[in-house]
């Protein structure tokens, strides 16, 4: 058994009642944290990781990530994406996320269940990156996805058809089933421009999928951007709502009553509004994104006030759109405290993934996923950007090269 002590750091356990950065050493045995130690407490036969001067937080969890959608040049038409191109970018994205302190991602969808394959490669030790919790292809209604985006989904009509696809997805090995229950915010199907976020899958179709997932003991998550879609999902028993851009009082009351978390994904909206044009999107996309962002933030604030649980996810399509930006936006634009933002990216995200007890906290029994920061993110959430090192399952997987200071 390999023993490692992370020494000299100040540790934040976001699952605690009133967490602060406290001097504490962490004993790691193989891939798990096995004890909290008093600073300096001796352990026989243990390696040391020097965390002096660092603040230690749990590895972050991006609750909404698409490994195969990051950093592909928007000018390359979708039909010209090759698997090699996508894989190249996926591996790059996973590396970037891991380096920024994200040790687990919930893949919110990938075409042809490629995220399930990537997860298999990770488990075989072939590919590194944040641990993937995979959704595979989205279950969407017939003609639900925007033209050019269809490949990420399997399209269904009718509850039996939805049920069949859910069963096939489950057999393929997804960790959760992703439903696409409303149009994209842009309103698209093909040439049709509907109202933003118009409801797509019917409630009985959604319910059939939820029933199958419940049988198999896995959760569902639903892309739902309008109040009608959100309410349908909640009545059908969906376990987590993605985006939740436009919410009315009834939707918020239902979210609170059923204790269903939301993943607002502010980062993608911010990124489109800020760098969209630069990245080759049209002006109108950037403008729509900014308008939609304001609506999403207002909904988020009301949901939070009603006690709805919130997890952090990026929906990133580029590698600037990191989870630390999501946390920053939660604080600076949505009025979260830094602790609330940190919890969204750790404790609550772990609940959403049904991995509580495994990840999202720094406690004995948890996987040794942790992040060493230069300064305390509870003072300023922007300190999440100053990463000194990252451990995943007890292994150092990123360590900043310190600039050598010469006289």
């Amino acid at each position: 058994m390999r023993k490692v002590v992370v020494r000299g750091g100040r540790v934040i356990d976001p699952a605690a009642d009133a967490p602060t950065a406290r001097p504490r050493d962490l004993l790691i045995e193989d891939d798990r944290i096995t004890a909290w130690l008093e600073p300096g407490e001796a352990v026989a036969d243990a390696e040391t990781i020097d965390a002096a001067g660092s603040v230690v937080v749990p590895g972050l969890i991006d609750a909404h990530f698409h490994p195969f959608l990051v950093d592909i040049d928007p000018k390359i038409p979708r039909e010209r994406h090759t698997l090699a191109l996508e894989l190249h970018h996926a591996l790059g994205a996973l590396d970037a996320w891991l380096g920024s302190g994200v040790t687990t991602v919930r893949s919110a969808g990938a075409h042809a269940n490629h995220d399930v394959e990537l997860r298999a490669l990770q488990r075989a030790g072939v590919v590194r990156g944040p641990r993937i919790v995979a959704s595979g292809s989205l279950v969407a209604m017939t003609s639900g996805l925007r033209a050019g985006n269809e490949a990420i989904s399997v399209e269904v009509t009718g509850p039996d058809d939805a049920r069949r696809v859910a069963r096939l997805q489950i057999k393929a090995g997804v960790d959760q089933v992703k439903l696409y229950t409303s149009s994209s915010v842009g309103g698209g199907g093909g040439r049709m421009m509907g109202p933003p976020g118009w409801p797509q899958l019917d409630e009985d179709e959604i319910r059939a999928v939820v029933e199958e997932a419940d049988h198999a003991g896995i959760p569902t998550l639903a892309h739902a951007t309008s109040e009608i879609a959100v309410k349908q999902c909640l009545r059908a028993g969906v376990h987590c709502i993605e985006h939740a851009t436009r919410l009315d009082d009834e939707a918020i009351a239902l979210l609170a009553e059923r204790d269903v978390p939301i993943v607002p994904t502010l980062a993608i909206g911010w990124s489109l509004a800020t760098f969209g044009v630069l990245r080759g999107f049209g002006e109108h996309i950037a403008r729509t994104a900014a308008a939609k962002q304001a609506i999403g933030i207002a909904s988020l604030q009301r949901a939070k006030a009603a006690g709805v649980r919130i997890a952090a996810g990026t929906d990133a399509d580029n590698s600037r759109c990191l989870l630390r930006e999501e946390c920053r936006l939660l604080v600076e634009d949505a009025g979260f405290t830094p602790l609330e933002a940190l919890r969204a990216a750790t404790v609550t995200a772990a609940q959403v993934l049904r991995r509580e007890g495994e990840i999202g906290a720094l406690r004995p029994g948890y996987l040794a996923d942790l992040l060493l920061l230069d300064a305390d993110p509870l003072d300023d959430i922007r300190h999440l950007a100053h990463v000194r090192g990252v451990l995943q399952g007890g292994q150092v997987c990123a360590w900043r090269k310190e600039a050598s200071v010469s006289a």
């Binding site: 399930v116 298999a120 509850p159 039996d160 058809d161 049920r163 069949r164 069963r167 096939l168 489950i170 057999k171 393929a172 090995g173 997804v174 029933e211 049988h215 198999a216 003991g217 896995i218």
Partner: protein, 415 residues
């Protein structure tokens, strides 16, 4: 031609205590009378079979056997890759015929084949009935009716996968036309929890109540039966609610579900023998150690639940689900005594109860005048020593005495 069998002990299958000094008279394949030995017919035209020290019983009935799954060879590799169906269909069928003979020589004169690819159990039923090959009477299930993606990767050939009540109904109708006697629903995942890459909770519920109900309705319209493979509590309840005639396996029973079984008078067929054999001999058979561990874990829970169901008065059938000769019906009976049944009760489960469930109790299941002379002789007093069932001396099929063994298992290392 008249045959008179005079065993030391007679156990008639009804659960009544053993009798001594009796003679069973067989004419033209039927039992014509059971009388005190001194009143039995005699003379040159009467064949007498004296069986001192032996018990005569009804031929056993295995309510859950798969002719197309029994192997005596070691598995070649990890089970996921090398499933039992041989690439050559002829080999598959010859192995099934061998399996039928092995069960017959172990005293099983009737089996319910609980599911085979392409409704092949129906073909076995006819081949045996027509005398092309020797084997027990077969009551046939067809391909399992499973949900889309329901079968573990590699096992799909045993099932037809459906989604929706209408698809389920269509498949039920096709199977009835193909001659299936008992429609078999696959109402839960395997114990291993698998679908493909998914390892879900053991025996998680599959098929909806509506899908199963459609199949039950079609079976009952045609005066046929319907059973369901069900493992987890919810899957057992779903099957009962859908109206199955009995529940196969029924591993995770809670009090409420036991009450449902009682209220609907639905029997269960627990199949402990398979788990027992995997737990103790799985590695010899070429399975990985995790299989033995899983079998052991499930059987702890299932055994406790079964004992509770027995004490509550649930009707309990005997079936093996055997994939190897050790998981015999005699072993299943032994395991039934370990949850509290008396040997006579365990024998009743494997004879009259199973005959009642299959609605064949007018013909088989007891040693009584008028029944088909499916009989076995075992060494010792089976009413006090259930393991006597493992010491088969003679098997009679409709009065015909078989020459044993039909298949010599010692070549494969079985005792």
């Amino acid at each position: 031609m008249t045959t008179v069998i005079t065993p030391e002990y007679l156990v008639d299958g009804t659960g009544a205590p053993a009798e001594t000094g009796m003679a069973v008279v067989v004419e033209d394949g039927r039992i014509t009378s059971v009388v005190p030995a001194e009143h039995a017919p005699s003379g040159p035209a009467v064949e007498r079979i004296d069986a001192p020290g032996q018990t005569l019983l009804p031929g056993l009935i295995d309510l859950h056997f798969h002719q197309f799954l029994l192997l005596v060879e070691r598995l070649g590799g990890p089970q996921e890759q090398t499933f039992r169906r041989d690439p050559l269909i002829a080999t598959t069928i010859l192995k099934a015929a061998r399996a039928a003979k092995i069960w017959l020589q172990q005293g099983v004169t009737t089996i319910r084949d609980a599911g085979a690819p392409d409704n092949m159990a129906v073909a076995m039923r006819e081949a045996i009935a027509d005398g092309f090959t020797v084997g027990p009477r077969v009551v046939a299930s067809g391909a399992l009716i499973a949900q889309t993606g329901g079968m573990r990767a590699g096992n799909e050939d045993h099932a037809v996968e459906i989604t929706g009540a209408d698809e389920a109904r269509r498949e039920a109708r096709l199977q009835l036309k193909a001659g299936v006697d008992v429609l078999k629903l696959y109402g839960a995942s395997s114990i291993g929890g698998g679908g493909g890459r998914l390892v879900g909770p053991p025996g998680w519920p599959q098929l909806s109540v509506e899908e199963m109900r459609a199949v039950c309705e079609e079976a009952h319209k045609a005066d046929r039966l319907c059973s369901a493979h069900a493992v987890s509590t919810v899957s057992i309840r779903n099957a009962i609610e859908a109206g199955v005639d009995w529940v196969d396996h029924a591993d995770f029973l809670d009090d409420e579900t036991i009450q449902m079984l009682l209220d609907t008078d639905t029997p269960i067929c627990p199949t402990q023998a398979i788990a027992w054999s995997l737990e103790h001999f799985g590695e010899d058979m070429g399975f990985g150690p995790h299989i033995a561990k899983m079998a052991a874990e499930v059987s702890v829970v299932a055994t406790e639940a079964l004992a509770k169901a027995y004490r509550a008065g649930v009707r309990i059938a005997a079936g093996t689900d055997a994939d190897n000769p050790r998981a015999s019906l005699a072993q299943e009976c032994r395991l039934l005594t370990e949850v509290g049944m008396s040997p006579l009760e365990a024998i009743r489960a494997a004879t009259l109860t199973n005959a009642e469930i299959l609605r064949l109790d007018d013909r088989i299941g007891t040693v009584q005048a008028g029944k088909v002379a499916d009989l076995i002789l075992v060494a010792g007093d089976a009413a006090t020593d259930i393991d006597a069932l493992k010491r088969i001396q003679d098997v009679f099929q409709a009065g015909e005495r078989l020459t044993l063994p039909l298949v010599d298992l010692s070549a494969w290392g079985y005792a």
